[in-house]
């Protein structure tokens, strides 16, 4: 299936988390309050570094969220 991460189309296998898709798109998962590029860190839903807007919904923990076909992920 394909998902979109900040306008990049990414091919992912069934069962891939949105956080993994963001990493494979080489996109930051968020920009920190002082402007640093950040990426998924803890992988288990506690650090919140991977929170992204998914299909218009803000602050989704992307490492705990499986990809669905056509998902639109915005991380900045």
């Amino acid at each position: 299936m394909f998902v979109t991460v900040n306008d990049k189309r990414v091919h992912v296998a069934e069962g891939t988390t949105v956080a993994a898709a963001v990493m494979m798109a080489s996109e930051p998962s968020r920009i920190s309050v002082s402007g640093e590029r950040r990426a998924p860190f803890c992988g288990m839903g506690i650090c919140m570094e991977c929170c992204a807007r998914v299909n218009g919904v803000e602050h989704r923990r992307s490492c705990q969220l499986p990809c669905e076909p056509g998902m639109v992920v915005v991380t900045k």
Partner: protein, 428 residues
């Protein structure tokens, strides 16, 4: 919306699954809830019935998942416990939907997370937790051809190197901060846990190409937009590896937010429980990593004990105690063997970020009187992770104690708190 059960189990790792299955088999109405996409917790993350046989601890996974499925237990995945509005009631959230669940007995099996320590460059993309990298790879991140350094502390490092290396990454080194002497002593005590010795040897055989060095720790990570190089030390000299990913975690710490919120007595970072896993709060049991970092075997036994106890079968629960004591001793040995060295307190530079959510530096925090003052003056611990990452770091770095938690214990959309159905449907 509200639902009522005899027993509610929070956290569907080994401890929670065992507790829920046993209590349901004994005829209780049980609900097992977890914020992940499927039961399994961290150790069985991403396991499926068709492929689990060959995976580490796959046999136990198949056994317990079968029992869970054949029991009458209700399983809610994707649900996060956020609050306890009144005694015996938990408030849950899932994708913008709120729900209350009522229980006569509550079993907490919320597991553990990695302890992360700040060092220069640890916020760079490409630097992850050790378990973090493993979880992301289980979540579909392709490690093929990636150059990976594994560092930090704990038996998890070898397991991570074995699984990520097995999935195609090139492991350039595994660096354990604990000194060889202490680990050798620990290795000897493992003669009493031959299964663990075999498990460790198996991980090592699968990572034999990579150096496993003890008494070594991370100094810094560097790169422009993402990680390019890491530097390590053995306390005498320093060396560097060019790499794509650094997997770095320093043992585990219990996820105490929910037991804290419920008022369970906590000592030394662990929930105090009696012989039937009951906490200081009536009707609240705690199992697994909450009572001591000891792994799957301990969690399975404690889960069963709590499950029997919740079903009113104290004799069956007590019968499991002798087997449990063995794993409790293992947990104690583990914490001693991998105790953190004092040098790790000196890793952070003045401008190293300690609180990743609010970008609060070591210089802004050092010299503060404690957690509360740091929050008031710097916003440390007030971001989205609610101190889950910086809390255990500042405890180690500055000796601060977390004074408590406030609901909601997870970031929650405000319309869920306000019980606003219209806003909730727009959210979905």
């Amino acid at each position: 919306m509200s639902a009522r059960f005899d027993v509610v189990v929070v956290g569907a790792g080994p401890g929670g699954i065992a507790a829920a299955a046993v209590a349901a088999e004994a005829g209780r109405r049980v609900c097992l809830l977890d914020n992940g996409v499927a039961p399994g917790g961290q150790i069985w993350r991403g396991y499926r019935a068709e492929t689990a046989e060959k995976a580490a601890h796959g046999r136990e996974y198949l056994h317990w998942m079968k029992r869970l499925k054949q029991s009458s237990c209700t399983v809610w995945t994707g649900w996060q416990a956020i609050d306890r509005p009144t005694a015996g009631v938990l408030r849950l959230e899932c994708r913008g939907e709120g729900r209350d669940v009522e229980a006569k007995a509550l079993i907490l099996a919320t597991g553990a997370r990695e302890r992360f320590l700040p060092f220069p460059g640890w916020t760079l993309p490409g630097v992850m937790g050790a378990g973090g990298l493993q979880a992301l790879v289980k979540g579909g991140l392709d490690p093929a051809g990636k150059r990976v350094v594994v560092a930090g502390s704990g038996p998890l490092l070898l397991a991570v190197a074995a699984s990520v290396g097995g999935a195609g990454a090139r492991i350039h080194g595994i660096y354990e901060q604990a000194p060889l002497g202490r680990l050798a002593g620990f290795g000897l005590t493992l003669l009493r846990h031959p299964d663990k010795l075999i498990e460790g040897a198996g991980y090592r055989m699968r990572t034999w190409r990579a150096a496993y060095r003890t008494g070594c720790w991370i100094v810094r990570a560097e790169g422009r937009d993402s990680l390019e190089r890491v530097t390590l030390t053995d306390g005498h000299r320093q060396w560097s590896h060019n790499c794509d990913w650094l997997a770095c975690g320093f043992q585990l710490v219990s996820n105490l937010e929910l037991p804290r919120l419920l008022g369970c007595r906590i000592e030394g970072g662990l929930v105090v429980v009696d012989k039937l896993q009951q906490s200081s709060v009536q009707g609240v049991a705690c199992v697994g990593e909450l009572t001591g970092i000891g792994g799957m075997e301990k969690a399975l036994l404690e889960g069963q004990i709590a499950g029997w106890a919740a079903a009113g079968c104290a004799a069956q629960a007590r019968a499991l105690r002798p087997r449990l004591q063995r794993w409790q001793r293992f947990a104690l040995r583990l914490s001693r063997a991998f105790a953190l060295r004092a040098e790790l307190r000196g890793l952070a530079d003045a401008d190293t970020v300690v609180c990743r959510c609010e970008d609060v530096t070591h210089a802004a925090l050092a010299g503060r009187a404690g957690w509360r003052e740091a929050k008031l003056y710097t916003r440390c611990g007030m971001g989205a992770c609610q101190g889950r990452v910086c809390g255990s770091a500042t405890e180690f770095l500055y000796g601060w104690q977390n004074p408590g938690v406030r609901p909601p214990v997870y970031p929650t959309p405000v319309f869920v708190l306000a019980d606003d159905a219209d806003a909730a449907s727009a959210h979905r």
